[in-house]
Symmetry: C2
């Protein structure tokens, strides 16, 4: 009997080194606990239903900082806030009409950061282009004083084939840079077709970026329906005149915060595995998928570890970033403070979750080749959540954590099924009902499992 | 040889009586012509893109009367307009906020015909009910001065099983009569959950009907998202206070018109087969599926018959009714004028198309049992369009033609696939892009085939 016992003990010891079954036991326990009884949906419901929209500088954003801090503290976590000065852009009135076509009302929304039109609006002919090349060809003579209309529908075939983020990247170029590119030729304003994979006359906002060398002109997103209407009228050879009234204001910067909570590592507390989402949201919806769900995943991961009394070897630090949407000030503030503390290289890895709350399909990672393959093999615990999740190499694994990954910290980006993400993204329809509690729990379990593995066993 | 020829001639003669192959040849020709080269989508595009919304009393409605009249005349049809005095309700500002929950903006729309709130709005606690019984139980004491919230989601299982109109009928009760039922107990205003089978924060309007014995209070439809938000907050036991600002106006009645065009019957011109849709639309969208597509089907049927030089034995009369949405004044005006001419009973049948432009699935009919079965057998030509279309008995085959069917005229109601109709119905998203040109042509072919059969061979 004794011999047998010794042999068993040796087997276990080997297994501990190779697979870490005790630790794996904890990973399983974390996943199973979250799948069985996640309270993440309650967290998300409070953030979206009770607090609502959380644009940087708004009361909602401030309430979100206060409530999440208190909540994490109530769960027994160490919490601190990190000062971030954020832009304070306030959407005003936003109206459009086709004065050439029976004064039909257009449904549109100002792009984030847009300057205002004069109070009586801008009324001008619309010139449609599909590229910057076309813009250059038309030149100042044909564009001066006009409303430039960038018509670039999102590629729905890409979306359907699982590459929604690629389709987004291709179309969103004109939202970001279109206004300044058109201003270069004297345009009076820019409208784009909403970057959208679905629409019920649904405007999609998002930030523009002014080139400081060009005059700042107003920018707005038409719904896909309104954009297609203008496109059809122009295709018929008709002269289209549009009135645009936008009255946003850029107020002085406001002091706000990242919220940071952590579970200190038992052996290497100075080594950090960061999990992050962003607290701010656009103002049109209540930011359930962008990024209330990410915030909820981070908070629920910490709550679950605390509740289970699991303390991995390295620190798991949850960061709820402020101002991802229109400035990335939180991401930069975090990086600057970490640099000042000489802490950047102490980040074992960063995991960002900012892609909604559909069922999990994988992670992107800055790891490559064999290293990524080897790491993937360590993550068998994910099989408890869904049958298969991919790990795919990518230079970009998240916006808020990009200063860290740019500095060489290994990054992971969480990927829920992206098929419907851009149906809701940056719209009034980004609300709690778009999130399935079961999928949210699966997502949380995936984040928690990855964070735990990295914190317990390193990279 | 001669014998053979005689026998053949006899066979043909028999066939003419039983199946009317020459006539069937025309029916086939009509269907094939429409399927191959319908211009109905162009008609619909002009109505929706160039004219736009067509609420009764608006400039759009008047332009639609003028343009459709001219268009039909240009196609060589006999056209007349029939005077209809219509209500002139103008939507004003419409805003809502949850003053109890961080001033969150609500997305809502005034119900058609609603009275205004005071300019500063109505701010009151929200009381949720799901039925008139609950309203009665709560009584005046608990409802006085409150905003009554009728929470009755559309039954999506019914919608999915092909019974969207039944689901609509069950939910729309509260839109029509809710305000007056709540006013009976002293409510200050009513909000309902939009009667919707899909939403991206999309409000669905539609007419309310005031009971003249009750005080008139304002009524609005929240989007399903906003309604579900209020529902969740109330379910958590929270006090919900809402501010509603609605500034619609009811202006004096306006003179408008039904547009009537016909192809006179070659043998019985006094006998009429009516095909009808409605010219007016709600003001939020451009009325593509409600009911620009019906208008297009009626117009394209007439145009095709004219172009093909086909003149059936009885008259085919196309009627583009005014004011189906908020008064049915056109339907009544047509009936009254027909009564005055002693023409009501000269209607062989009426066919109404006001259910969108999805692919055709069938017709409802006031015919019953064997009579309907026998008629269905005559309509084999429909097999050229889609493999199978049903004929189903129903007392109600259309709103505009209901005065005629109530007077005993046989009715047919056209049914395109209803699955997605209430995704768009009465919303800003009822726009041209929701219509597939091929399905519209199939629909038109079905209407034309039915009208031709009735006009050529009677009922």
């Amino acid at each position: 009997m004794r011999t047998t016992i010794v042999i068993l003990a040796l087997t276990v010891a080997t297994a501990v080194r190779a697979q870490s079954p005790a630790a794996n036991g904890d990973a399983n326990r974390i996943v199973d606990t979250i799948l069985a009884g996640s309270r993440g949906y309650e967290t998300l419901a409070y953030l979206t239903d009770n607090i609502g929209p959380r644009l940087s500088g708004s009361k909602g954003a401030e309430l979100a900082v206060r409530w999440t801090s208190k909540q994490l503290r109530d769960w027994g976590l160490e919490v601190r806030t990190e000062k971030v000065m954020v832009p304070h852009w306030v959407r005003g009135e936003e109206r459009g009409r086709l004065v050439s076509h029976n004064d039909q009302k257009l449904v549109l929304t100002a792009l984030g950061g847009s300057v205002a039109t004069p109070p009586s609006g801008i009324t001008a002919d619309v010139v449609e282009v599909t590229s910057y090349d076309e813009l250059a060809k038309l030149g100042r003579e044909k564009l001066k004083g006009k409303i430039v209309f960038f018509y670039h529908p999102m590629d729905l075939k890409l979306v359907a084939s699982g590459r929604a983020f690629e389709a987004y990247r291709l179309a969103v170029e004109f939202r970001g840079n279109g206004p300044s590119r058109a201003a270069e030729y004297g345009a009076a304003a820019v409208v784009i077709r909403s970057v959208a994979s679905a629409s019920l006359r649904t405007p999609h906002t998002g930030a523009l970026r002014y080139d400081e060398k060009q005059p700042k002109i107003p920018g707005a997103a038409l719904t896909t329906e309104d954009a297609d209407l203008v496109h059809r009228l122009i295709a018929k050879g008709e002269r289209v005149r549009m009135q645009l009234v936008l009255t946003p204001r850029s107020l002085p910067d406001v002091e706000s915060s990242n919220v940071i909570a952590e579970i200190r590592g038992s052996e290497h507390p100075e080594q950090i595995v960061l999990i992050g989402g962003h607290l701010d949201s656009w103002d049109l919806g209540t930011g359930a998928i962008d990024d209330g769900s990410g915030v909820s995943m981070v908070m629920e991961t910490l709550r679950t570890l605390k509740e289970l009394g699991i303390q991995p070897k390295r620190t798991i630090r949850g960061v709820l970033f402020m101002n991802e949407e229109n400035g990335l000030r939180g991401g930069h503030a975090y990086f600057d403070a970490a640099s000042a503390r000489e802490e950047v290289q102490k980040h074992v890895a960063v995991i960002e979750t900012d892609a909604g709350a559909a069922p999990p399909v994988g992670f992107t990672s800055t790891l490559e080749g064999k290293e990524l393959d080897a790491f993937k093999k360590r993550m068998t615990v994910l099989g408890r959540i869904v049958p298969a999740m991919y790990f795919e190499s990518s230079k970009h694994t998240g916006a808020d954590t990009s200063p860290l990954t740019d500095a060489g910290v290994p990054g992971f980006g969480f990927v829920p099924d992206p098929l419907h993400y851009f149906d809701f993204h940056h719209t009034p329809a980004d609300t709690l009902d778009k999130v399935d509690p079961k999928a949210l729990a699966q997502d949380t379990a995936a984040i928690a499992a990855l964070a735990y593995e990295l914190a317990q066993n390193g990279l």
